[in-house]
Amino acid sequence: MASAAENAQRHHREEIRRRWMLSAPALLIILVAATGPLLVMLAYSFMAKGDYGDVKFGQFSLDGWFSVLFQRDMFDDTVTLADAHLSILWRSLRLSLITTLATLALGFPTAYFIATRPRHTREIWVFLVTIPFWTNLLIRTFAMQQVIRNEGILNNALRALGVIDEPLPIMYTDWAILFGMVYVYLPLMVLPLYASMEKLDFRLIEAGYDLYAGRLAVLRRIIIPLVKPGIVAGSILVFIPSLGAYVIPRVLGGGKNMMLGNLIELQFGSGRNWPLGAAISITLMALVMVALLVYVRNAAKSGAQHG
């Protein structure tokens, strides 16, 4: 006869097996549908490019990776930095960073506003913030175009007010991409910020005021340190999709203001250079991974200090 301890242990093992079984379908999909294609991309990036797209299977080549940063002159074979790629990479990083900072600047007061409403009205505010989510990204991007184009709402309004004589050429500039990304990704910043502000004990703010901290000091010394997890989470959620944005720079940035996503699409499309496209994709993923690691380490460190 099995002892009670053996019984408990067997029960525990069964429980673990049951959980594995239950999560198996999801794990299988993640493995096959997510990791699989990534491995294919990794393999493609090390192959020679086909003449009309595709790759030459089995032909190992570092040309794809080489072309990410360098270019070979057509006539004299001199190697120079691929300025076009570097400027696109730089634009992607810069615009994503500015987008993250702008959504933080806009989202912080918004989240604070919602978190300080009476409990029953907060849900309504959160719902209002998420409404754009229920709309297709392409539609939202075209809506933004209607606002910022030369004959759009913004320019017409500014002209009617007499602020400007000529329409501001916003479309097809980095500004257009920035406006679009801030608008689209703002909810991704507001929601995690709100989630951590909702947990904020507002008596701590009173304690701060009581101990001679003015409004700015309370914000800097109490609120920001306490909602830091929300700031970190929101920044990750905005920065990562910004870096890989495709639709927004395509529609609002026109052909010449590309970001990494557009460059990748170009290589797989009319560029007919799949190994290069694959190599840039892996590069983008690596950038995202680095950003994530920095954040996670930062969060873990502050977590260890502050709980």
């Binding site: 304690a207 005021y209 009581d210 101990l211 901290a213 709980g307």
Partner: protein, 368 residues
Amino acid sequence: MAAPDRPQDKRNAIEAKGIVKEFGQGASALRALDNVSISIRENEFFTLLGPSGCGKTTLLRMIAGFEYPTEGAILLHGEDIASLPPFRRPINTVFQSYALFPHLSVWDNIAFGLQMLGRPRAEIDARVATMLKLVRMEELAKRRTDQISGGQAQRVALARALAPSPKVLLLDEPLSALDYKLRKEMQIELKRMQHETGITFVFVTHDQEEALTMSDRIAVMSKGRVLQVGSPWDIYDKPADRFVADFIGETNFLAASVIGFSEGLVRVRLSSGAEIAATLAEGARPGGDVTVVVRPEHARAVKEGGHLSGTVENVVYFGTDTHIHIRIPGGETFTVRQQNARAQSCGFAIGDAVGIDIAADAAQVLRD
């Protein structure tokens, strides 16, 4: 009525004048404070005592600056501070939940106020060290606030509020989260700290025993009004009205009628026909039918005679003393508390006929 009062010429630290506080507007407005006026003297341990919802915390928050009065003025050393934000008032608070900053260490919590005041680093270091010593937390200075016990958190909250040397320290039910034994210890500790620092303490509690043991003076509040202000002795022995008498300690209410006055006392006739002398609460109308109160320990159960008579309804043994519940004609119950001087029973059993002897000057005529 020689209450052991402090000299009247002492300066007032806090004066509240005709404070009205309404939450909401129009007909649905809730009146949390209704024409409250109190004076809190310098270096005094002053307690606001009342049941929850009586407005005591609202009044405290108003002194701190978290609420603004609808009407009236709040004076600190004679200057109106009602419009100053909390961070411009030299007043600190120990919050009910302590509200320690979870992202800062014990040391940083205590230093926070001094840092915000822009004090030099050396002064902050010295002051925090003094405070840690005062609350006996030197060893735990580097701890995070979630790594210390409730009693320790309480001490840190106290040290944090005392560190900037406020003119007035406000304490919002700071002991309510502690268990009984720790609460007793902290009561003594608080008194010691008030004595050592010489700071005016304004203490809010709903615990009448806590109020009686710690305070120099107590303001009893109910439904947004101050019913009585006085020393613990005043409040307990000379309650002004039925609420105060009922809220603080156990008491017996007796119907009586006034029959005359002599030497500041009033002679009343009890329902039994017996006549006793009673003190008169401030503002009590000295005529007609009145209510008098007698504390259970100011009466004795006697075999014969006494001012009242009845039958023993219950005898409850409490260790140090025994409560004898006596039903008196008219249907009311009168409780007598007798000390158990020797290891013997009180000598009364349920159903016994018994007399009640009320000590001289023990009865008080109430205001209402």
